[in-house]
């Protein structure tokens, strides 16, 4: 089984540093970005990233906007929203936009690890289904 490659996106350097250390210790391959634009650039250049852990409140492009962009450009990447400022509305919005889950800070590391593993398994299953599936209809015009 290959290591799960995770991108952690948060504008707080100390939080990023601690989380990367702890998740790396538990067997995850970690990449980091300090904002939405940087995260998107990384995802555009590396299609082996499977899961993104995404903060919501960030300067510039916020987490919700970043989520929309990620799901638009890389629909198979699973996104876990992680926020200290959770609300029912943003929880619903995040899930409707295609987030895999929505967690609140401070988050238990074991719970986060479980969610990341679930998300990666979901992505791999999805990929496998696409691999096996046969396109039923093709809608190309006659040349």
């Amino acid at each position: 089984m290959t290591k799960i490659k995770v991108l952690l996106v948060d504008d707080e350097p100390s939080f990023v540093e601690t989380m990367v250390k702890r998740l790396h210790k538990r067997g995850l391959e970690m990449l980091t970005a300090f904002g939405g634009q940087e995260a998107l650039a990384l995802l555009d250049s590396d299609d082996t990233i499977e899961v993104v852990i995404l903060d919501i409140r960030m300067p510039g492009m916020d987490g919700m906007q970043t989520l929309k962009e990620i799901k638009g450009r890389h629909p198979l990447v699973e996104v876990i929203m992680l926020t200290a400022h959770g609300t029912v509305e943003s929880g619903i919005e995040g899930m409707k936009q295609g987030a895999f889950d929505y967690l609140l800070k401070p988050c238990d590391i074991a719970q986060l690890l479980d969610k990341v593993t679930e998300a990666a398994a979901h992505r791999r299953q999805h990929q496998e289904r696409i691999y096996k599936a046969r396109i039923q209809t093709i809608t190309l015009r006659k040349p």
Binding site: P75, I138, R141, K142, P143
Partner: protein, 448 residues
């Protein structure tokens, strides 16, 4: 007050609090919704089974089974259902779980009439979009089939001709040549396009069930026939039924198909009452039906009734000029689906595909492209990324000075490898009989 809806939308409201049910009914009925209510999950499950429901509104906390279980059950069994979760105990976790389980909207109690109507509006809009997407049919002019070769141009002309008529059609071609796509193209380009297109694979349904599946049955016709059921011919009334692999239909079924073609009538299993239908038949086969007729395995009268318009589909090896177009099409489709940047094939890889025998035809090429999009990491597919049977064909690429017999031997081996050593299949592709192939292989062994 909200304007009345033009089309009837049925709402099932589930809550153990009767006051809430009353509020929902009072708010939605004047707006044109038909509201059915119940106070517990098992009753809701029964109602969903028994009558068509468009939107489910359910409370979260209820005794015995909660609303989340109901939402999960309904989402799995009724993909066309809109769902709203209401709760007196709103929480982030509850909202996330509800949406994750399939709820389209989440409302906290007490809600106002405006909030409820707004949520209903959002759900019904989403539902309409979902249904529209599902019912989307190929646009006029779309054949769903791709090719610039002469052979495919002839097929396109036949599709046009068949679409303009109502006569039965027989499509013949090897596996993977796109017989069902042609049948769909004929249906959706013709006058029957608004009526159903029903596809039946005669080999996928056990012989014992085929008759009841095609013609339907009445309650009590056999053990397990608990209610009347319409068959595919009835479902396709006014439209088209596509009978794939008709060459595998038993003589008994052939007799019944002949009757329906001659008289446009049939009996449901267990019934003596005649049913009338107007269903166009498009049949397909990979077998040589004429040869089967000569051997007495296929009814001659049925063959002539089916074969009014004959559309033979060329195998991919006979339209190699289409391979590059198909490769580009499938590559871009799969890359988009996978959300990865597009990849291309190296010239030599494309050349290798150009000389490969393609026993599985377009479907084999499509599956290979899907596999390459998943497996190849870089921006370009090299010969080394191709399966061994295809890499082998690279030996026969131009540039090397070889004798005719060497080329023949290589080609024979490549074809044999591509069909997993099946000599009959290889001989068919090579256009020689099995005996000749055996002799050529023997000669090869002797030369080596």
């Amino acid at each position: 007050m909200a304007p009345k809806r033009s089309s009837r939308c049925t709402v099932l409201a589930v809550d153990d609090n009767l006051n809430t049910l009353e509020v929902i009914k009072r708010n939605l009925t004047p707006a044109g919704y038909e509201v059915v209510t119940c106070a517990e999950v098992p009753a809701a499950v029964r109602i969903l089974e028994e009558q068509p429901i468009d939107v489910l509104i359910t409370d979260y906390k209820m005794p015995r089974h909660d609303g989340l279980e109901l939402i999960t059950h309904a989402g799995e069994n009724y993909p066309d259902l809109g769902m709203i979760m209401v709760t007196g105990y709103p929480s982030i976790d509850g909202a996330v779980q509800a949406v994750k389980s399939g709820a389209d909207e989440y409302l906290a109690k007490p809600f106002t009439e405006t909030e409820l109507l707004a949520a209903m509006e959002k759900v019904t809009d989403k539902l309409a979009r979902r249904r529209q997407a599902r019912a989307a049919v190929p646009l006029p002019g779309d054949f769903g089939i791709l090719g610039c070769s002469q052979a495919m141009q002839a097929v396109f002309r036949l599709i046009d001709k068949a679409a303009a008529m109502t006569a039965n059609v027989l499509i013949s071609g090897e596996s993977g040549t796109g017989k069902e796509l042609v049948a769909r193209a004929i249906h959706y380009r013709g006058a029957r396009s608004a009526a159903p297109f029903v596809s039946v694979n005669c080999t996928a349904i056990p012989e014992s069930l085929l008759e009841s599946e095609l013609f339907g049955h009445v309650k009590g016709a056999f053990t397990g026939a608990k209610e009347d059921r319409a068959g595919y011919f009835q479902i396709a009334d006014g439209g088209t039924i596509f009978l794939d692999e008709i060459g595998d239909a038993s003589l008994n079924l052939q007799a019944k198909l002949l009757r329906i073609m001659q008289n446009k009538e049939f009996f449901r299993v267990g019934s003596s009452q005649i049913c009338k239908v107007d269903t166009r038949i498009i049949a397909a086969t990979h077998k040589n039906l004429q040869a089967m007729v000569e051997k007495g395995l296929f009814r001659e009268d049925l063959y002539y009734r089916l074969n009014i318009i004959d559309i033979p589909l060329p195998p991919l090896r006979e339209r190699r000029e289409d391979i590059a177009i198909l490769v580009n099409h499938f590559m871009s489709e799969f890359c988009r689906e996978m959300g990865r940047p597009s990849i291309t094939l190296s010239d030599r890889a494309l050349q290798a595909l150009g000389v490969y025998a393609w026993p599985g035809n377009v479907r084999e090429l499509e599956n290979l492209m899907q596999r390459l999009v998943v497996m190849v990491d870089g921006p370009q597919v090299a010969v080394a990324d191709l399966p061994p049977a295809m890499r082998f064909t690279i030996r026969s690429l131009p540039g090397e000075m070889r004798t005719l017999s060497q080329m023949e031997a290589d080609h024979i081996n490549a074809v044999l490898e591509s069909v997993g050593g099946n000599k009959s299949r290889a001989a068919e592709i090579l256009g020689i009989d099995r005996k000749t192939l055996r002799e050529k292989l023997k000669k090869q062994t002797g030369a080596n």
